[in-house]
Symmetry: C2
Subunit: 175 residues, 2 copies
């Protein structure tokens, strides 16, 4: 069954979810972050069906998240390497994982990230790029950006889903 | 078709994805973050089918991400409020959205977050909780945590998918 496509919605969550939002794709990426590169290795560590894996890897290559590169010539064999776009998803999955560690891991985190740069075991924290304070729902107001088509903009402002630029009143502000 | 359940995997990405990883759930959450509370409002703003919406909201209530609270008595009507567990997903979706803004939004971000605490338009950045430097794949080593069952731990160390605790050698370190 073909699902609704969110790729064209003027929303970066919808577009990202369109790319990532099936059950296997984030786990394929997790393996790529762990260093897995070859089809048979993805298949083995994930216990994923070959058809599904072929489809997911194909989609990630098509979207520029992975790159398919030959590593041998006779017969030709490929491996799947993370692109910059793919590597840039690591922090997102680290943030997701930190949430899962907090709320879904009663026995403690299955995996701990060690930050070699500062030599501490760490957790991912999502912060404001300006003041570096943790970003929480209560402290932000969502406003229309340049990529929002005018008709969506008008509707979102009229219904109060988004606040006018500048961070004035909004439903968020009134919480 | 019932999919594989990842809820029991010793991996916080797998468990989180089991809860969030379908196309609609993150968008239902996005609307909750925008202040939407009532079934009919979710239906209208998302253009989602009632059956699918009922199922997704039910799952989120069951998992403690949303709470179903009566707001009127005759007839009884409910609204869906974010719990602490649900509110805590906001930074994760903010990080996902920042990635989408960077890689999937050629016309610019559809939505801009204004951080009222510091009064700047901002983007979500994922950082190390210790040193507050951005967390990147090249700077972290994944090690087994207390929630990883022994057999998984041994296998992950043997295959080099995880490094020994303490941040020693690993495939990541050798990149």
């Amino acid at each position: 069954m073909r699902r609704t496509s969110f790729a064209e919605w003027p929303c970066s969550i919808a577009r990202s979810v369109d790319l990532l939002g099936d059950w296997w794709t984030p786990l394929v990426l997790r393996e790529a972050f762990y260093g897995t590169r070859r089809f048979d290795d993805f298949e083995r560590v994930l216990g994923i069906g070959r058809n599904v894996l072929t489809q997911r890897l194909g989609r990630l290559v098509e979207e520029g998240v992975l790159e398919k590169v030959p590593y041998q010539q006779r017969p030709v064999r490929h491996e799947y390497l993370l692109t910059e776009k793919g590597t840039d998803l690591f922090p997102v999955l680290a943030a997701l994982s930190a949430w899962g560690d907090r709320w879904l891991a009663p026995a403690g985190p299955p995996v701990v990230l060690h930050h070699r740069a500062c030599d501490h075991d760490t957790r991912a924290v999502v912060v404001c790029e300006h003041c570096l304070a943790p970003l929480t729902l209560d402290d932000v107001t969502a406003t229309p950006g340049p990529g929002l088509p005018e008709k969506h903009r008008a509707a979102a402002l009229a219904t109060g889903r988004l606040a006018p630029p500048g961070g004035g009143d909004s439903r968020h502000a009134e919480r």
